[in-house]
Each structure stands twice: as structure tokens, then as C-alpha cells.
Amino acid sequence: MKILVTLDAKNYSKNILKDVARLAGNTLADVVFLGVQDDTASPRQSLVNTLLKYQKDIYSYFSPDDLPYAEFSSDRLEEKGKGDWTISAKGMKEFTLRIKSGSVAKQTIAVAEEMNCDLAVLGCGGKAGCEWDGEMNVPLRIAKDAPCSVLVIKQTKKTNQIVSILDHSVVSQDSLEMINQLVTLNEAGLKIVGVQKKKDGHKAEVEKRMVELLRYYNDLEINVWVKLLNSEEVKPYVTNISRESIVALWMGKESLIKLLFSQSMVDKLLETTQSSLLILR
């Protein structure tokens, strides 16, 4: 598994490190920490220091015997291309710090594509919305356009329920595992909500997906509850539960949920959620 974590110096970034460490440890993932700056001349030292500090923090969550990553041989990032600097260390798994110049959303999406990552993670702040360095549309753009699953952690508040919304579209093994990780990280129960159109022929397929998931999570001894909703009931339901639960939306290419959850709806969810939003692809 490959995890891309976009970070800056703000508290909402610092606060997600514990979750990132546990996620990386549980999945034995290759991890890239990405920092984004405006200027292209050289990596800004304050950003380098921030990322190096975060790297040390992440490493400190592991006992020396369990640490799957190696230490960097130096603190100097090498130029990979114009406005692109990196440093890597390969232990059992690879840990990379990368700094790019440009816009945060664009560079996160570009790096996610380039490294073919499974999950992009970022934090966001703000009580009334989900902002990144004063901008409200950064987490939304990443959630909407990234080629991989995206986890936006708004508050590292403990929640006792993960609500996973799915339709008839195919569910990948990685997505199942990510939900499993969220359940483990939060020691939460899992509610699987199947969505169907009132008059389409996908009811059996949605149920088939739910049976598969039920079996998968039961085998892992995870407490699962199922619920079935018609498509028109989904938006109010999700908006309501997002206040108290982590919402995971399966938004595959041909997903009904993708159609239902327009940009404004994902934006609203990012605004209302009191914990995290996971977009699964």
C-alpha cells in the first residue's frame, strides 16, 4: 500500500500524524510526505524542517524493532526537476519527503497519479468549513479529483461509528482494508449503508455487495450493521450522520453515489463532518 500525506505547518496537519502513523504501521505502507510551496528556486528551509520534524514524530510512534522505515542518510533534499525536491530512505518500506512548488491541490493530485498511490491523506481546519491555509476548496478539490481514495481528517475526534455508503459498483480489496483500518484506529463499529435507485435493477447487485462486505468484516470479527436506502434518502441521511460519524463514500467511476454526491454535496459533508471523510475509489 502507498500512502501520500499532504502536510503544512498548521495544527490540522500536525494533529493527523498519530493517525497516519497507525495507518502506516497497520498496513505496512510506503509513505510520502508532501509539502507544497509557492517559490520554485529552492526548497524553503522552514518547510523542510517541518517535514523532517513530522518524519521524526511518525518514527517515534514505532518501537525501534517495529519501525519499517530507515533513517535518511542526510537532511538535504535533492532536486528531481524544476520546483521538485525529494529525499527517500528505504528500510523494509520506503519513506519519502517531497517538496513541490505550485498549488496544493494540483500538486497533491499530480503526485498521487505519479506514485500510483492507494490513499491520499490530509487534514483540514475550521469550524464552519474545511479549510487549508485559509482556502476552503483545497480539501474539496483533492477529494473530488484525486485518482485514489482520499481521507480528509477534519478533527482527530474519537468517533464510535464508521458509516460506509456503497452502491452496486465494484468494491476493491484496498477499500475494504481502508475501512477496516478506520474501524481499528477508532475502535468503532461499522454501519454499511446500501444505496439503490427506487426503480432500477441494481437491488440484487447492491445486496450482493453488502453480503460480500458483511462476510468480509464478520470474518474479521468487526461489528457490522446494515441498512438499505433509496437514492433520494441518502443526502439528508449522510448529512445528518456526518456530524457524529466518519463517513466513507464509495465513489467508483460508474457509481450512483458519485452522481448523487455532486461537488457541492461533498463540500457540505466536509463542512458538517466533525471527524473525517473518506472517499473510496
Binding site: 458483511l214 461489528n223 457490522v224 450493521w225 446494515v226 441498512k227 436506502l229 433509496n230 434518502e233
Partner: protein, 264 residues
């Protein structure tokens, strides 16, 4: 042992019901029978005499295959007490007939939880539920809980609730809690003091005591049906009397994530 009839279809609800039944068997041993009714419209019926008989045999045989497929797939840890009972006809009529003629103690069927209380009400007010000679367990979800909730409210007759539910659960190894529901439309559900439960709650406690059952915990909840329904997910099942009208308690049962045992 409780003589139990479980309805099986080839869908998620039945898949959950099968697994849950095996779980229930650990707490209250069951003598389990399964049934499936093949429903045919008039248009689908063919021929007369031998032709009709051969056609019906074929339909029933495909129903038996469906049941066997489900049993094989779920492979539950609960032996069947007899061969699956697969018949042709109207599901409600055939099920009521089987429940009456077979002298069952309990009927179980799967019911997928939805956000629509009207759908739930349509089911619980159906002929099957109003004419069933035994309590009905609607399995909405699986559980790992070892506790049951006796759901009480001002509209519940405590005597019926205790007498009928203890016939099913009295010898089980489940622990019991009482959840007393009071409707209040607020953003947060409130947990009130025991005194707010009123005379029905007192009577319920006293009847359970007389039946030799101890109650672990009493929760008097003031909230809306969604909140209380969600609260019930911590239980292996919620027992209540069959609601006879569209009440707030009916909506709690509709929203309950836990399986619901309806007695009357």
C-alpha cells in the same frame, strides 16, 4: 428447545437471518426448520392435470435448490430439525398455515433496515404478523451482544411483554435490560432518571422480578425514534409488543438496528 421456523429467500435479509439464527441458537437452543414459498402469478401457471403437476414439481424443486444453495453458502452452525419445507402459493397464507399446523414457538425472517417507517409498518401490520400464532423475530442485523432489551413505553402492556417474551427468552442465557422510550424531538437524546418511566416501568420491573428474571440496567430515554433506534444497536435483540398503529414506538422499532422480537 424452541421449535422455530425460519423463512429463507436468496437475498441479503435471509443471509443475515440465517447467521443470526445460528447465533441465537447459542443462547437459546432451537429446533430449527426452514421454509420457502415459491410465489407464482396466474400468468405463470401452466396447463392442467399431469402437465400442471409436473410444472409444479419443477417449480418446487427449483425452490428447494434455492434453499439448499443458501444453506450451503452460509453453512451455519445450527443443525436443521427436518427437511426444508418448500411449497407453492402465497407467502403469507402458506407461512401462517405452516406456523399453525406445525405448532411452532417462534417464527424468524430477515428484514433489511431502511429509512422508511411506512415500509416497516406495512410489514408489521400484514396478515402474517397479525395472525401469526407465535412471536415473530425480524432479523435486521447480526450481533455480538449478549444482552436483550425489553422495549417499554406508555403504549406497551407490561404483562403481555413479560409473559410472551419470557416464553421465548426465559430459558436463554441472555442478560436483560429495560429500555423505556419517551418521545422528545431534540438534537441529543436524553437519559432520564428511572422515576420518569412511570407506572408501566414499575409494573414491568415487578413482573420480571416475579418471573425470576433480574434486570441489569434500566434506561429511560427521551429522544426521537432514530436516536433510540440507534441506541438499540448494542443489543442482540429488542423485544416489544406488536405495535397496532403508526406510533412513535412503532417508529423506534422501525429504526432499531438490532433485531426485533414482536410478541402479542
Amino acid at each position: 428447545m424452541l421449535k422455530t421456523l425460519l423463512y429463507i429467500n436468496e437475498d441479503l435479509a435471509s443471509s443475515i437471518a440465517l447467521r443470526y439464527t445460528a447465533y441465537l441458537n447459542k443462547f437459546s437452543p432451537l429446533s430449527l426448520y426452514v421454509t420457502h414459498v415459491v410465489e407464482q402469478t396466474e400468468k405463470e401457471q401452466a396447463g392442467t392435470g399431469l402437465v400442471k403437476r409436473a410444472w409444479e414439481d419443477g417449480i418446487v424443486s427449483s425452490g428447494e435448490q434455492l434453499v439448499n444453495r443458501m444453506l450451503r453458502t452460509e453453512n451455519i452452525d445450527c443443525p436443521l430439525a427436518g427437511r426444508p419445507k418448500v411449497v407453492m402459493g402465497k407467502r403469507e397464507d402458506e407461512t401462517i398455515y405452516e406456523l399453525r399446523s406445525g405448532g411452532y414457538d417462534l417464527y424468524i425472517e430477515g428484514y433489511l433496515n431502511t429509512a422508511d417507517p411506512d415500509q416497516f409498518y406495512a410489514v408489521v401490520s400484514s396478515e402474517l404478523y397479525s395472525k401469526s400464532p407465535c412471536p415473530i423475530l425480524m432479523v435486521k442485523n447480526l450481533s455480538i451482544s449478549k444482552k436483550c432489551a425489553l422495549l417499554c413505553a406508555s403504549s406497551v402492556d407490561p404483562a403481555v411483554l413479560v409473559e410472551k417474551s419470557m416464553k421465548i427468552l426465559g430459558d436463554s442465557t441472555f442478560k436483560f435490560d429495560i429500555v423505556y422510550f419517551k418521545f422528545k424531538d431534540a438534537e441529543q437524546m436524553q437519559i432520564l432518571g428511572k422515576g420518569d418511566g412511570g407506572s408501566n416501568l414499575q409494573e414491568l420491573e415487578s413482573l420480571l422480578d416475579k418471573a425470576g428474571k433480574s434486570v441489569d440496567n434500566v434506561s429511560v430515554l427521551a429522544g426521537n425514534p432514530e436516536q433510540v433506534g440507534d441506541f438499540l444497536k448494542q443489543y442482540a435483540l429488542a423485544v416489544s409488543t406488536l405495535p397496532s398503529r403508526k406510533s412513535m414506538r412503532m417508529q423506534v422499532l422501525a429504526n432499531s438496528l438490532a433485531p426485533v422480537l414482536l410478541v402479542r
